[in-house]
Symmetry: C2
Subunit: 464 residues, 2 copies
Amino acid sequence: MSSSDRRIRLNAFALAAPGHQSPGLWRHPDDQSHRYKELGYWLELARTLERGRFDGLFLADGHTPPVVYQGSHDPALTWAIQAPRNEPTAMIPAMAAVTEHLGFGVTVAVTWEQPYHLARRLTTLDHLTGGRLAWNVVTTWRPDVGRNMGMPELPLTHDQRYDRAEEYLEVCYKLWEYSWDDDAVVIDRAAGVYTDPRKVREIGHDGTYFTVPGAFYAEPSPQRTPVIFQAGSSPRGRDFAAKHAECVFIVSTSTAGARYFVDDIRSRAAAHGRDPHEVNIILAVSSVVAEDTRAAREKYEEYLTYVSYDATLTHFCGLTGLDLSKLPPDEPLEIKQAGTTKSPLEIFVKADPGRVWTPNEVVRHLGIGMMGPVLVGSGAEVADQVEELVDETGIDGLNLMCAVNPGTYVDFVDLVVPELQRRGRVWTDYVGDTAREKLYGPGRKLLLDSHPGAGYRSSRTVST
Amino acid sequence: MSSSDRRIRLNAFALAAPGHQSPGLWRHPDDQSHRYKELGYWLELARTLERGRFDGLFLADGHTPPVVYQGSHDPALTWAIQAPRNEPTAMIPAMAAVTEHLGFGVTVAVTWEQPYHLARRLTTLDHLTGGRLAWNVVTTWRPDVGRNMGMPELPLTHDQRYDRAEEYLEVCYKLWEYSWDDDAVVIDRAAGVYTDPRKVREIGHDGTYFTVPGAFYAEPSPQRTPVIFQAGSSPRGRDFAAKHAECVFIVSTSTAGARYFVDDIRSRAAAHGRDPHEVNIILAVSSVVAEDTRAAREKYEEYLTYVSYDATLTHFCGLTGLDLSKLPPDEPLEIKQAGTTKSPLEIFVKADPGRVWTPNEVVRHLGIGMMGPVLVGSGAEVADQVEELVDETGIDGLNLMCAVNPGTYVDFVDLVVPELQRRGRVWTDYVGDTAREKLYGPGRKLLLDSHPGAGYRSSRTVST
């Protein structure tokens, strides 16, 4: 199955905070993102996305706002860059209660909780959503994040962090795939057996970073292992993604950059013995859509008036680790100073190797949509752009970032989705109930056999 | 205000697991608790409780099932004693979405997460529920619980655990009460100021167990600090509760035992400078109600046929730390062997000092409702028993445990609540939106000034 035969997968990318990837646009009178604290805001968004037959809503997270620009949290607080922010898993079951099919991806770091603790939280979400959960596995690379968590210095190197994340997933796979047989829960009222203890086993994990000798005490959820998302952009991160991820979220401001990441991740997946197309790759994009070309351009121009120099640089500097507050607005960035550990900057460099980035260029090009292209036009025009982007880069779908929330999603659902449906590029109705079945087809609720987590499955037979 | 003037507060006590405090009764054909994994099960329960004007639903938790009886997890798995079990916070926002007033209490240990991490999770729940959250603060006393969490031995003594819990709450109070002024979030679109950074301050906590120098990055929720629940039964635990708790959950199988705990907690609260009646005390009870006396007795007798010797002892031995599996059924328990650290056993001893407990007596008296009295009768009869229990013990209300879920709650709401309403002992409609206003009256969303957490409030004025 070549990638061009496949339907385009639509995801939305949000944060439990005001604003997101269009810094400053919370000031737009139509923006409702200050309602992130209200259940109603999320229920409406979930209903909108399900109406547009989106695969899922993907929720980012992190514990602290960026503190690079001007060296303090003041610009981030002032401009609402990732602050204030709530914890994202909490909204998911409520959104699941008002939808039937929409998937929910959520970012949870492997840094702050023991794998047993997080595994149970995720299993519970997969149960309550009927198997609609995806987990974006992230490690923490910003040293300032740990200071409020009893970890004033992150104790590991970049590669050690990924080694630890590998072992973290190994523990989770053992808990999710190995500890309980499919038929362990029997609920035999006559015999007085709820769970057959012979079909529940201790995982006996004794590793470098974690010791988990016992059994899991949550029963398997519909997907057992939630769909594994990953968004690492460093070479080690992409290798981790190519091995474990069923869906990879990439960012790039250019077609060439996206193509580079797609090819790289697929070849790494093949090296891990997987079909390269088992890894679904979605690209961050934003869109500004209206009834016709002119109205869309006008809307885009109007949105641009809400872009803020300070807000954009606060966000960008947080992503790249570069403090541009003392750089004159038209002075080129010294890309080399970024070093290899500031991997997010590579995205922009690789994405657009010919461009000379200055603070003003950053603001001009990234002030709306920050990490990806902005598609502007009528429904048909944006549908053209989506098709072109997919066909030229080899991505499987989009991760749609709002300019204005929920307007960007409402416009896309009302104007672009019907056009893509007419062209047969997106589905007109859901097929399959779980998040994984949306990726691999009906009946495929569990990890594919080629996935490394599948290797931890027990034989599921009782030794008598 | 004397306690007898006050309305009786009704809470329900549940667990994200099959069964609960009536081991074996998951086998009853009417019991639906195997549906604990489904959202619909919780949404129905929440609606039932709100229909009955319950103050709240209180959710217990813990990570492992009891392993004392027969020295393994096999009986607990077989009899579904606290296993399999999901994580309980996940259902709360979904239940909040289908109710307007019902409160949600949830048990989360201070053992497994850094206070910053948990504080943000709880703040998010308080936001999404519109201020309907209560947090049951527990420490972990069972050594076997830590083995899957990288903590094969609990490193602290009983009193150190409470010292650490004190400091944990101190960090939470600083994050919730001190870090953000009420007017920090301004959302000034014209000026481009979402949050005024001058009104967000770092908490600078540097203590024995925790170091949290920075600011909180979630904005204050409706209650700031969720209502503090506590259920400690040891003297140190009761002192902790008397200082911090706004609602204390007690268990006792006798009126005399309940009276003892009520008097003790209220006098300890007074010693902490609080009005003794600021601490709301709720007692665990179960009930079996039907249209008339005879039908209720028959229902109770029928329920008793589902009580299991092994299931009850598995639960009881887990609570007390005593393995009674080798004790003949009519042999008295050697109470003294329990030692002073097995505080849950004291409950039963103190509760009923005259009784000789044998395994058979445990099963006979605790097989339904486990930790509290079982009220059996018509609606009017059970209302009589409730009034008598409240008036003789000085408790503020009940924490209703199911015999059969949701039947116990449905019967109580349909048959007992209307009777108590007619007698003016419970309210006929909700007053106040938040969990705390249900305890202290409309407008009292925040901690009372006499609460130790209130001492961490900032002046909430900007230093210019």
